[in-house]
């Protein structure tokens, strides 16, 4: 795992080295306008023409000291921008991820249990559609129908009034910086409702796109489980349908779903970039898209490193869960 992380840092560094030194200076300076003479001085100061290995270790040292440079899109040091954007993304993940998993497992199971009925066909079509729809198009369609036509579910993370409360009301205590949770802790239902209301469409967008993979896998692995000998044994011993499906088939069918949940996470991060851009929610994904457009190198590289690290950790956790859940691995 450490090896992979070192590899990730090498990869990010290599990507950065593809840029000319003049653009890499942007990581360290806060000012947009730099004269050519100053530019040379800055390049020399930060050693951006030194041999690559030397630059790599210097860069790595800076990272380990928490110095990630200055982000023009956040107009603040990278870490400060990150602290501001992370809660917005985290909150959406908090609502979307469980829904993605539950929808995928529920509809996948339903399709397998009622194989070849109308229900099965509906879930299969849903899965194929979720696979083929571009995230950005579904987002635009949802906005066109709900916001453009019906005039409900406006974009943005919070309305102006509520923004004022969250950012400048002295009686507001940001315990977690996740607005919906803080709203409950502060007992401010107006804030809760506003934040929650604006999260519905983005969540729907993420769920439709990202639950497709789980749905498909769940259906096929459930079908496989239903055909196993142990199912017949259980039936012969007189288990009712509920016990059969829940305790015997679904438990076994979940194993492959756990292994791919890492992939689902990575896809969710990708959809997040697009969903946040479309629904104008200023989180990590939105930041990443802005940074890419405005050549904000410091922010892009930090985000890639961050998401790479998180993904490595997620995969490790997935492996651990798998080992715990599968008795063949746990007991050996």
């Amino acid at each position: 795992m450490v090896l992979v992380l070192i590899g990730v840092s090498l990869l990010v560094f290599t990507m950065m080295m593809l840029l000319p030194p003049g653009q890499r200076v942007a990581i360290y300076v806060t000012n947009d306008r730099v004269s050519p003479a100053m530019m040379d001085a800055l390049i020399a100061k930060y050693g951006l023409n030194d041999p690559a290995p030397l630059q790599y270790f210097r860069w790595l040292r800076n990272l380990l000291h928490g110095e990630f440079g200055y982000s023009i899109t956040a107009s603040s040091p990278v870490l400060k921008g990150f602290a501001r954007f992370l809660p917005v993304t985290l909150e959406l993940v908090l609502y979307a991820a469980p829904l993605i998993i539950l929808t995928g497992i529920f509809l996948g199971t339903l399709g397998a249990v009622r194989k070849d009925t109308a229900m099965d066909h509906v879930t299969r079509v849903l899965a194929i559609v979720g696979f083929s729809l571009p995230t950005f198009w579904l987002g635009l369609l949802l906005m066109m129908i709900f916001y453009g036509f019906l005039g409900i579910f406006p974009p943005g993370a919070l309305s102006t009034d509520v923004r004022n409360i969250v950012f400048s009301d002295p009686t507001w205590h940001p315990y977690t910086h996740l607005v919906t949770i803080d709203a409950i802790l502060n007992w401010r239902w107006q804030v809760f409702w506003d934040a929650f209301y604006r999260m519905i469409l983005p969540t729907l967008n993420l769920v439709v796109i990202n639950s497709a993979l789980i749905m498909r896998l769940m259906r096929s692995s459930m079908l496989e489980a239903l055909g196993q000998d142990y199912m017949m044994t259980a039936r012969a011993k007189g288990a009712d349908r509920k016990t059969l499906f829940r305790r015997h088939a679904r438990r076994n069918a979940m194993l492959p779903v756990i292994t791919i949940s890492g992939i689902t996470f990575a896809e969710l991060m990708g959809s997040m970039v697009i969903t946040e851009t479309i629904f104008d929610r200023k989180g990590i994904g939105w930041w990443m898209a802005q940074a890419a457009l405005q050549l904000d190198v410091a922010a892009i590289m930090f985000d890639v490193l961050f998401l790479g690290t998180i993904y490595v950790v997620v995969n490790l956790v997935v492996d651990l869960i798998y080992a715990y859940v599968d008795p063949r691995v746990r007991l050996s």
Binding site: T135, I274, L307
Partner: protein, 300 residues
Amino acid sequence: MKTMHPRLRELAFTLRRFLKNPLSVIGLSLVVIFGLIALLAPVLEPPKYADPYKIPHTGFHIEPSPPSAAHPLGTMQQQYDMLYGLVWGTRSAFRIGVLVVAANLFIGIILGVLAGYFGGLVDEVIMRITDIFFAIPFLVMAMALVVAIGRGLKAVVVVLIILGWPSYTRVLRSDILVTRGKDFILAARASGASHLRIMFTHIVPNALYSVLILASLNIGTTILTAAALSFLGLGSETGTADWGQIISLCRSWIVGTPGNRFAYWYTVFIPGFVISLFVLGWNLMGDAVRDVFDPRMRRR
């Protein structure tokens, strides 16, 4: 009935199975239709400029106009003709999809064969590199790399080629590990066949199906990623016949006029619908090919 050569009989069986599934037929038809549109683009929509991938536009008026006789699918922002953009966009999608997936296959197969056949240190190094590529969410890494090598459609293609091969390498390697120990390989080695010969006449053809199925499924994903990058503004320039670019031109028109709230539905709906059909076609076909070729599934 005349007796057929076993190989022909097998092919006929495969074909019959393929055609029996309505979803496969839909997928195949979609891909064929899009293929024809791409091939016949110069006939369907004769280019107006030296560069056929530039969409002609009449004037610079910002508001899209609805379908009319002159513009059967309406125009986009700045009066770019929608039909022209979509037809040549199909050609562009095929070029990108086929080029990227072919390059991915080439790199992926060579590295997969090296890793699977030789094992040991070669295997270790190649597989650790694929681990690193898998350690970063795909779209995120693609965005960063496009920024690093400079924006544009060419950059998008290069990036997708650089990032796309590891999945083929993994699949091929694990397939080869299974084939490598089989008796017929040992027989070939005993009869003095060279490494290269064993690799490319015995091992690769046996492991190829799973890779090709993956490739067919990946054409859709490749186009989706390319479109997403163009949508974010990292791909082609404004006015290029490229699907992602076309959608990004339309994204400001989700709210209609006060009298007619769906006033611009065509400009938002049509391009995304076309992309979805294209991706759907390749996905259905990939599924069908898997069902037909996978020996565990085919005789059911």
